[in-house]
Symmetry: C2
Subunit: 309 residues, 2 copies
């Protein structure tokens, strides 16, 4: 049986598993990433776990291993200076895994992996031009044009989260100001809500999470609704510029913040349409990903292999 | 002999010619576009002119006809609502030419054609990820990723000139505000200079062209130099966002305004580097096109054919 290994390395957990070519998950598990002080131990652990499970599959043929990770580079096969991982500097992830497995190993950042997952198993099936936006603690993007992920000359393309949307805007972790992800992310939403709160008569000292703000918005709390509206305005603005550049057929939103669904998507669509150049109006849809937090990471990572066979 | 016909339809002139696969120009000519009230007459004229010239070539084999035109769509083969042409609405250019010539006909907008010209004959040879920016009366862009022009799902991608760079900024012909081309174009440069002039002690009523401003800058006129600096700041800002999205190896500048050379390119590079996210710094070069106003349009249009054979 033809199988693929998918590994999604996150700042908190690493999800890994074995799937069939049609996306059926044969096995999946997870482990806290930061449990392993040394990368060597991490790779050894995964190798043992996955080898045991592979052997349970009759006549298995391993087609390849797809790995999604923060700051991972498709060309170099390395993770480069990922702020949320304990392994610092440039990590030769592909090389180290290649010593353990006799199969093609393909690496890219988590947003590009998600884009491929969407193309193979989600809303972007048979769509050659689309954009995947992952909104969680930060904002990542994977851009697909002519049926291929845009990696750029150095493998780092798709950093929509670090395009500037507000001149001299909020401070970003990257050291710059006004990046999209300082507004459109769980952290950004929390900040916007608390800014609105400070300027309102409801001034309190309690800092709410983006999930709590989402729940308040569902209960028609005016400040929470205004928070989502402001977030949507900035995202819609950014997307209108992106559409002018790559003209995608759909924009797929994925990640924790997108669980808010129409509360974010509807006003984002409205603002994007308002900002768009005439020739692009009413052509590009914004949809919620069909992948979910349970299978998305694994299917995305596995799709890296599917995409090359 | 294998030959290609290139036709570049501009608001003022249409340039047309016959080239060899290596870019050698066998024949070239031009005609005022707006001389032809009806498209039919325009196509008939070109058909006769080109047929006569083709027959002079011994054992010629026509590989195809490449046509660059404003608002031309690669997928539909049509020019759609080009503001600078006298033929209004949706013009089925490909279909009409196809009735005259028994060879593949490929159409795209002028900036995409220029990008392909640069890939085949200019600074972008063997480069799979680059951006072509044409700066004249307006600003056009052709984006190449993974060795292919990004047309987008509808054929209209690459409208960098109509991305918003200043909130509530200058009025644009497109009906929106703050588009890049209202600042970075010959018209934009004229406007910036005259705005600076109004606020200076040198207040006069004379409106200068971008070429006159260029000449003043060469003579160290402080307002003219400041004009180029402001133009470069906005272009550098826009390019820093574009690099975060597509990560090109080089950005090629082409068109009348770029004749100013280092006066524009040097400060643009400086500002772009300042605005760039760390991982992109000192990786993307900005260069002047190797194509010129004499051969650029023709080689660009012809490259559309070269790209598909």
């Amino acid at each position: 049986m033809d199988v693929i290994i998918g590994i999604d390395i996150g700042g908190t957990n690493t999800k890994y598993g074995i799937i069939k070519k049609n996306g059926f998950i044969l096995y999946e598990n997870k482990v806290p990433t930061n449990k392993f002080k040394f990368l060597k131990d991490f790779v050894n652990y995964l190798t043992i776990e996955l080898s045991i499970e592979l052997k349970k599959i009759k006549n298995f043929k391993l087609l390849g291993i797809g790995i999604g990770a923060p700051n991972a580079n498709y060309y170099s096969g390395c993770i480069e200076n990922a702020p949320n991982l304990i392994w610092k500097g440039k990590i030769e992830l592909k090389k180290i895994f290649q010593e353990k497995f006799n199969a093609p190993i393909i690496i890219t950042n988590d947003a590009n992996a998600a884009a491929l997952g969407e193309m193979h198993f989600g809303s972007a099936k048979n769509i050659k031009d689309f954009v995947m936006i992952t909104i969680g603690t930060g904002l990542g993007s994977g851009i697909v044009s002519n049926g291929e992920v845009i990696y750029g000359h150095d493998g780092f393309a798709g950093e929509l989260g670090h395009t500037t949307v507000v001149n001299n805007g909020r401070n970003c972790n990257c050291g710059r100001k006004g990046c999209l992800e300082t507004y459109v992310s769980s952290r950004g939403i929390t900040k916007t809500y608390n800014e609105l709160l400070l300027n309102s008569k409801f001034n309190t000292n309690k800092i709410l999470t983006s999930e709590e703000i989402f729940n308040k918005a569902k209960d028609n709390d005016p400040l929470a609704i205004k928070t989502f509206d402001k977030t949507a305005d900035i995202l819609g603005y950014s997307l209108s510029n992106l559409v002018a550049i790559t003209s995608p057929k759909i924009i797929v939103l994925y990640g924790g913040v997108v669980e808010s669904g129409d509360l974010l998507i509807k006003p984002t669509k409205k603002y994007m349409e308002n900002y768009l150049l005439d020739i692009f109006k009413n052509k590009t849809n914004i949809v919620k990903s069909k992948l979910n937090k349970y299978n998305g990471a694994l299917l995305g990572a596995s799709s890296l292999v599917l995409n090359e066979i």
